[in-house]
Amino acid sequence: MSRRGGGAMRLRGLIRKEFLQIVRDPSAVAIAFLMPVVLLILFGYGVSLDAEDIQLGIVTEDRSAQTAAFTAGFTGSRYFHVHRYEHAGTAQRDLARGAIDGLVHLRGDFAAGLADRRPAPIQLIVNGVDANTARIIQGYVQGVWSGWLAERAGAAEAPTPVTLEQRVWFNPEVRSRNYLVPGLIVVIMTLIGTLLTAMIMAREWERGTMEALLVTPVSMAEIIAGKLLPYFLLGAGGMALSTLMALLLFEVPLRGSLVVLAGAAALFLVVALAMGLLISIIAKNQFVAGQAAIVATFLPAFMLSGFIFDLNSMPWPIEGLTFLIAARYFVAILQTVFLAGDVWAVIAPNALALAAMGLVFLILIRRRAHKRLE
């Protein structure tokens, strides 16, 4: 038998062994298929930045037509759930204990002030702990206020000088789920890829089976390939499942092509699996490998990938660090392929970066794995 043929046979044997191990300990199958389903359903439905049903207190100290006209804008809005108060004191107590998110206070002389053409202040107090929600509430209240102003002014007074026309491209209805679901897929795939491989090399060392493998004619490259291939297939299955759920269950549009999506996913999966393998090789025992996997995957992919937090707004040393996080490139590609289409100006550089990372990881794996052999 030629050397080449022997290599293929040995590789087949290794892959078969790995598959048997996967089937015997179902946790790997659970990682690849159960995790994406559970996590995507929970997060796809649960994670949203669209504030609706805001608990808003309105304090009106008089009952005039003027105050009624102003507050009508809130009661009619689908964003607000209005609580009415007659005294500022009770309303403020409710705000302090979190029963309402914000309160609008019209003073007793509101209508009188308007009649006398004295500026009548309207006070808005928000609970600023969640600054983002507070800003959203502020924006909504401002909207109601300017609507009321426009209505009052009618044609009689000077029109607003500059009006803003907004066009939000790629996601005109600004549905936060449309970008959160692709981002969640990245987080989930990072976990799957790394989790699948983080333990397996360490396990072989710990159980002493690595030494047994080393005395056989298999080369290190074959061992690595034999480890990567079966888990690549598992991970690809998980990715396909996640994409299907995004499209069918969460109705995220896919404006780019499936081929580009699949290609990018394959690249990313190699990087994630290789990172797990590298952790496994460096740690050499499962306990440390497991700890390193927990620390190195979830939170970095969640915080530093641009999935939720804007990368451009981070201070430059932190933004520089994000270039080491593979998830950042995959987030950019997925958000573009899902929402914008096959924009090569985004896809090409990010795919290249992923390929480079994968290559570096594989080289490091080869190096580290060799050292242990000698």
Binding site: I122, G128, N132, A158, I294, N312
Partner: protein, 369 residues
């Protein structure tokens, strides 16, 4: 009894800390992660790259553009001269915002008519787009107010005055840094506990432990103590960094913060040990750790408010100890809350902790294979 527990506790600490890699993961990473995430986690945008497509040649148009250029929130990176240039710039993600002024912008304004200005935003991250849009609106509103004042129509009949309690400048960081404390405590305790029993089972030393005079309760305490110790130390260091480095105000009392932290540790140590004793191999333990960790972070209200979730997901969050702890850290840090937290937040954490610890102790004996 306490001597036996102490011996087990010492052995547990030794297994955790004797490996330099493990020591690094447990001791150094929480601090490093807080330093990084504290800067990364913010919904405030700075230097948003934008392009100007000014078809207007007038002064008013220049004035409006200058307001954007002068704002620290925006950074002008491109100038557009033709409509065809807009799409490629936005699609490639070069700019987040294109500001377009129509040809007769200044002349319309001069005649006292309404002039539109168009803001085109990259909505791939719709939250970032909305925040940027709010900034745009602020600048346009300020421009309008100044113009109205200058051209004699006077101020609007009613002014909206906004105040924000607990966080007057609405700094996003004040919201996220206390949240990160919660996240890192969770990760650290799970690190220490979730693999500890699973490892002993896989190596066969757990059977040996069971035949020693140690009772299951004593094993439980011995296994739980390192989690408490490491978690408490991590919490102290991280909270100190939050106050001293990130300058997040600590309004409430340290006593409330520590009481909340201890109760929260009770529940995470409990869940970690429960996962660990359910798992037969460390691989399963790791899977369990993630299946707890990831949902508990995402459904805690850390980044996206629980109020935005649909009812059935909100119901699930009541099982999540981190949900309560988020309210506690943020409440103590920013709102200065004290004993009113006891019933609503402390009791559920204590209940989850006691329940999961009992299940873990029960599983020690039952699960023998």
């Amino acid at each position: 009894m306490w001597r036996r527990i102490l011996t087990l506790f010492a052995k547990e600490l030794l297994t955790l800390l004797k490996d330099p890699k493990s020591r690094f993961v447990i001791v150094a990473t929480p601090v490093i992660q807080l330093a990084i995430f504290g800067y990364a986690a913010s919904f405030d945008l700075t230097s948003v790259p934008f392009a100007v497509y000014n078809e207007d040649r007038g002064e008013a148009g220049r004035e409006l553009v200058a307001r954007f250029e002068g704002s620290p929130r925006f950074e002008r990176t491109h100038t557009i001269r033709h409509t065809d240039e807009i799409a490629p710039l936005v699609e490639a993600g070069e700019v987040l915002l294109v500001l377009r002024l129509p040809p007769d912008f200044s002349s319309d304004l001069a005649r006292g008519e309404t002039a539109p200005v168009q803001a085109i935003l990259d909505g791939r991250n719709s939250n970032t787009a909305l925040i940027a849009l709010n900034y745009v609106r602020d600048i346009v509103n300020a421009f309008n107010a100044q113009r109205l004042e200058r051209h004699g129509t006077g101020p609007p009949p009613a002014e909206l005055v906004t105040r924000a309690w607990f966080n007057p400048n609405l700094e996003s960081r004040w919201f996220f840094v206390p949240g990160i404390i919660g996240l890192l405590i969770t990760v650290t305790t799970i690190l220490v506990t979730a693999l500890s029993v699973a490892r002993e089972r896989e190596e066969g030393t757990f059977d040996q432990l069971l035949v020693t005079p140690l009772r299951p309760v004593e094993i439980l305490i011995g296994k739980a103590l390192p989690g408490f110790l490491v978690g408490l130390l991590a919490a102290t260091v991280i909270a100190a960094i939050a106050v001293l480095w990130f300058q997040v105000p600590l309004q409430g009392s340290l006593a409330t913060l520590y009481a909340g932290t201890l109760l929260y540790l009770l529940s995470t140590v409990g869940v970690g040990l429960m996962i660990s004793s359910l798992a037969v191999t460390q691989q399963q333990g790791l899977l369990g750790a993630f299946l707890f960790l990831v949902p508990s972070v995402i459904l805690s209200g850390f980044a996206t408010p629980i109020a935005n979730m649909p009812g059935w997901v909100q119901a699930i969050t009541y099982l999540n100890p981190l949900r309560y702890f988020m309210v506690v850290v943020r409440g103590v840090f920013l709102e200065g809350r004290g004993l009113d937290l006891v019933l609503t937040q402390f009791l559920p954490m204590a209940a989850i902790g006691l329940l999961s610890l009992s299940v873990a102790g029960w599983l020690f004996r039952r699960r023998m294979y």
